[in-house]
């Protein structure tokens, strides 16, 4: 049982480039989330999804887009990368019945 899997684990981007962070879960959870964590800080919600085809903005959605075509996958796209997007990104999913939250291992992104 892999849980929540994120790729890549590390990435360096140049200003203006775009990329997609991949996230997949094998627990059949309806709810999925993307958070970012800046150095020494807590987690901020970027986007979340309550099921396939349904997404909604969190606290800090600007500069990001998501899609949810299947229950398992919830990719996060960064368009026109900026230095302010340098952060560690965590994908998570929650148990549909209990709400228990599970995190992936994180993706460290640096924009230069």
């Amino acid at each position: 049982n892999a849980g929540v899997t994120q790729t890549p684990k590390f990435r360096i981007l140049k200003i203006g480039q775009s990329m997609t962070l991949q996230c997949t879960q094998d627990m059949n959870h309806n709810y999925m989330y993307w958070y970012r964590q800046d150095p020494g800080m807590g987690l901020k919600l970027i986007y979340y999804s309550v099921g396939a085809g349904i997404t909604d903005k969190g606290e800090v959605p600007n500069g990001y887009n998501v899609s949810r075509s299947t229950t398992e996958d919830f990719p996060l796209r960064l368009e026109l990368a900026a230095p302010s997007q340098t952060s560690v990104y965590f994908c998570a999913s929650s148990n549909t019945y209990t709400g228990e939250l599970f995190f992936g291992e994180g993706s460290r992104l640096t924009v230069l």
């Binding site: 987690l43 919600l45 929650s94 709400g99 939250l101 995190f103 994180g106």
Partner: protein, 108 residues
């Protein structure tokens, strides 16, 4: 929205000491979890504890939902316990609010 506070913000212990971390929240919740973020950045589930008491080895947690707080106890601390401990509370819509964390340093 729900506000979450954690105390203390920082804690330094000698190996072998015990500690209590506190999480206060401002409204009724149906979900409360404790996470440990280790020095490598991984977020580890410690407890899913919307109410009651649970124990796992040297760690235990108690949530008193009616009084809107949760406590995480660490006994006989080890250097591997170092990191940041986050409390997260969830409402009935599975929207989670994280506390600011308690940074624990356990010295050998």
């Amino acid at each position: 929205g729900i506000q979450v506070e954690q105390s203390p913000p920082d804690l330094i212990l000698q190996e072998g000491a015990n500690s209590t971390l506190r999480c206060n929240f401002s409204d009724s919740v149906n979900n409360l979890q404790w996470f440990h973020q280790n020095p490598w950045g991984q977020l580890i589930n410690l407890f899913y504890i919307p109410s009651g008491t649970k124990q796992n080895g040297r760690l235990s947690a108690t949530t008193v939902a009616t009084e809107r707080y949760s406590l995480l106890y660490i006994s006989s601390s080890q250097t591997t316990d170092s990191g940041v401990y986050f409390c997260a509370v969830g409402d009935y819509g599975q929207n989670f609010v994280f506390g600011p964390g308690t940074r624990l340093s356990v010295l050998p």
